[in-house]
Assembly symmetry: C2
């Protein structure tokens, strides 16, 4: 570790902080990957050097997430936003309806895209109270012949997260896990399809990870554009056309780093400690800081909070910026403050934020 590297306290919501060790490794081999005389970016996606990276990234995802047999891991492009359309293009037939659980803006966007392509319904909503909670599992309503049930596992903007998922039995469960994939253990076998933009917990932007159950994939519509069928990616090991090779290479480095950090359980434990630093500060502030999310729905990844009024928030954010904190402004739809503390955000940065919050409260109460 070269301690002279200048590092900001990066709380960006995505693209977000990457592990310093990963950046250093990428830097060291940027000109010459594995003694090939070429950058990994200059390698053919059909060549051996890249293929090893590609397959290792898939393998590591399977290992870290304990993905059971019978699932495919795919690498796509277009961000999670393109998944909002690809899901119904592949899995919403004319004679069925798809159910959406509304837990924030990303659920709304997913719903709006599906609505363009077929019949949809709201299976439950947490809109009342500005999405500060997650609907109780028993309040989610859908028929047994629902095409699929769609949930957003972590609501990046509101700072809420599902801590248990419904057992949907024969109804395929689909989850947008863009902002909490790989942050804590999940039971992948509950899901027919999981998708996530890489740019929060897994790597740089430009790669979308899809985990799909093979028997579900077989039910997909087969007449759509080649590049918008999951089957195209499954059949060709995500190499039908040129994948975003550098992004996948970075993912592989991040996944290796995760493994070295104790795997998903090690990361989860540290994430809990990091989150506790900030949530405890909020809870002990006698209302100086007010969390947006209800306690039971708090996100491990995005901590959202407000101060007494907008002037005080402005001062808090301005001084934080001057002190070297990046990305603490809340999303314009919620206002206030948000600290995104993804896997790669160091414990130190969370400690520094806690200290800043304590000092700011002292000076301003």
């Amino acid at each position: 570790m070269n301690n002279s590297v200048k590092r900001a306290h990066n709380f960006n919501a995505g693209p977000a902080a990457l592990p310093l060790a990963v950046l250093k490794k990428a830097q060291a081999e940027l000109l010459d990957f594995n003694d090939t005389g070429m950058s990994i970016m200059e390698h053919s996606h059909r060549g051996n050097a890249y293929e090893i990276v590609h397959n290792r990234a898939i393998e590591l995802l399977k290992e870290l997430l304990s993905i059971p047999e019978g699932y495919e891991v795919l690498f796509l492009q277009g961000g999670a936003s393109l998944q909002f359309s690809m899901v119904p293009m592949n899995f919403l037939p004319a004679n069925k309806k798809a159910g959406y659980v509304m837990t924030g803006v990303w659920s709304e966007k997913a719903y709006a895209e599906a609505e363009k392509l077929g019949e949809v319904f709201v299976a439950a909503t947490a809109k009342e109270g500005n999405y500060c909670q997650i609907p109780a599992l028993k309040e989610i309503n859908y028929d047994a012949d629902t095409a699929y049930l769609h949930v957003t596992s972590n609501n990046t903007i509101y700072g809420t997260e599902w801590h248990a998922f419904p057992n949907t039995e024969a109804v395929p469960l689909i989850a947008d896990m863009s902002s909490d994939i790989l942050s804590c253990p999940i039971d992948v076998s509950k899901f027919a399809l999981i998708y996530a933009g890489a740019q929060k917990n897994i790597g740089p932007s430009g790669v979308t990870v899809v985990i799909i159950r093979r028997d579900f994939l077989e039910q997909a519509k087969k007449n759509g554009p080649t590049m918008l069928q999951y089957a195209t990616f499954a059949k060709n090991n995500s190499l039908y056309n040129t994948p975003p090779t550098f992004g996948i290479y970075m993912m592989k480095l991040v996944l290796e780093w995760m493994k070295a950090e104790g795997g998903l359980l090690g990361i989860y434990k540290r994430n809990q400690e990091k989150a506790a630093l900030i949530y405890d500060t909020i809870d002990a502030s006698n209302g100086f800081y007010k969390g947006h999310a209800q306690l039971s729905a708090r996100s491990l990844m995005n901590v959202t909070f407000r101060l007494a009024d907008e002037n005080l928030e402005k001062k808090f954010l301005e001084q934080a910026k001057q002190a070297g904190f990046v990305g603490l402004n809340g999303h314009r739809l919620v206002g206030g403050c948000r600290a995104s503390i993804y896997n790669a955000v160091p414990y130190d940065s969370c400690q520094a934020l806690r200290d800043y919050m304590l000092a700011f409260q002292k000076e301003n109460s």
Copy 2:
């Protein structure tokens, strides 16, 4: 220049060689972009540091290609292959037909995707003779109410290239320029839409550049999925959702390098010199090397050639590999050899290949 960097002679068809100076710059600032204490990959796509990069890349593309007023430059994902579908999704209405000029496998794939979505016809084809030529402009047949005419400006696999484009008048001309964009000057005003995967001449894989005439864009269908409408990207400066920020950053560095190398004219001149080294060797070989493309259709970017028989080709390719040449195998559909000599392939590498070809001929005739 640190001359100790090991560099392969990289003739990959894409992803392909990048300028060494660009890789060095990316390496130098990989951990700390502009003294922000963050990698460019860790910056928010909504933040100032990234936005400057993004807008500068657009500006440089406009400048280098002399893009006239009235055009938008967009950054998409999904590769050129997704464009095969997006073009008809946006611009093939139910009451019109789209014309395709078939000059290779990529034209065929573009046609096949459009056929799924509407009515298409072959306006001309060079299939006879295994795509060794480009149809004469006067042989291209289409009505005045054709939805659009689609061409593939450079045929990566066959090594043929259009050296003049038709004046299609009111019929919108659309070109897949994936493998020759920015290699030579073009008159952008002839085109309604140009698209190109970045991974040959502009940067790493994972970014698709689209250049679109605004009045054409206004005719696009408006009911499609948000992420599959060009208008979404145009309205939001390609920031509707998270763009592949690192790829766009790399593109900006490549475009700055091009500018420093004399802009498009400087690059074009060097490309001609590079291509001449190899084509002249083929032509002076008394038939030892046989070019695939007809003289009038030769590509400046992909030089395709064969040797007397497959055994000799095998020997040529094996010894080339041992000598440090990368990517000289022809595409399986044409066989033989292919040297992709995109903008970033140094003159030195072409000289080395020429020398190798001369020596191999001497030893084997």
